[in-house]
Amino acid sequence: MHAPDGFIDAPTSIAMGALAAGGVGLALRKAGADLDEKRVPLAGLVSAFIFAVQMLNFPVAGGTSGHLMGGVLAAVLLGPWVGSLCVTVVVVVQALLFADGGLTALGFNVVNMALVTALGGYLVFVGLRKVLPKTKGGVVVASGVAAGISVVLTSLAFSLEYAIGGTGGASVATVTTSMVSVHVLIGIGEGIITALTVGAVLASRPDLVWGARDLPAATLAPDDLVGAAS
């Protein structure tokens, strides 16, 4: 999903840059309240982990590949504001250090891969949590499904940007259809990786999962071995 320079015209890229700056600025203001002593290094780890998993392209149908974007994963672990900043850091490092994602495209790449996934995906997660059982399993399923949906949301966001300022001649309808259909498949991978990772953290350090902090302690650790109560 890292767009190179040139897919979207300059005025739209500038507008998306402004939108990204506004979104990141808002996240920076909101994130401070969500960061306690442990969440600073945890957010560093989550960012590094997302960077690593973004290198693991997995094959999907028809000679295509996809990789995790990680917005929902970060948001479930750290809250949507800190989570969106984690993915922003990853996208900026990728563009500046690894020439992955264009520099004029940085604005809409941040919007699509960090803000839409973490903020939009987290809203889906919150909605799913309301209807799913208040258990670890409920959190895991909500994470996975929201992560999958977040990828489709992102493909719609790109299609909208293409509709506004796409430089190619392809029709918006075919671009949208193609983007959504391939990203449904990539979303399944995103959902599986997200669910597995959230499940692993819930099993080892449930207290570190932002999206599970409403669960009663007894639900979080019924099978606890060490049990250092905090």
């Binding site: 999903m1 890292h2 320079d5 040139g6 897919f7 203001r29 994130a31 401070g32 309240a33 960061l35 306690d36 002593e37 442990k38 600073v40 957010a43 560093g44 780890l45 989550v46 960012s47 590094a48 982990f49 960077f51 690593a52 290198m55 693991l56 392209n57 997995f58 094959p59 000679g63 295509t64 590949s65 990789h67 900043l85 850091v89 500046l96 250090l97 690894f98 020439a99 992955d100 264009g102 520099l103 790109f158 430089t167 001649g169 075919t174 671009v175 193609s178 983007m179 391939v182 990539i186 080892s204 350090r205 449930p206 207290d207 570190l208 302690a217 979080l220 606890d224 109560a229 905090s230």
Partner: protein, 122 residues
Amino acid sequence: MRARVGFGLFLALGLVVAAGLVLFVSPRASSEPDGLEKVAEDEGFIEGAEDHALADTPTADYAVKGVDDEALSTGLSGLIGITITFAAAGALFFAVRRTGGRSRPDGAPPTSSDSSRDGAAA
């Protein structure tokens, strides 16, 4: 709430997993075009793509210049990536907490691996 592993161990294990993924799995990752690239090819707007302004930098395209072994080059670029990402995010969130944070009287008490630094921000 209960924790099975100490926080320091959790962080260390997480970083080891990330390092293992970039070193041993990323060289085997699919090199097929990703979803957007494939759509751009199929719908004929791939020609619009411009060369990256930083395409000639030492770690462009997840390869370390001068390292000829392709798998090693990819793996090393990944190690550089997770190190810099961890440092950049850590510095950013440390600064955000200091400038934007407030004290959290409701926050969980620090674990044994936490420093004893007081959490209140100015």
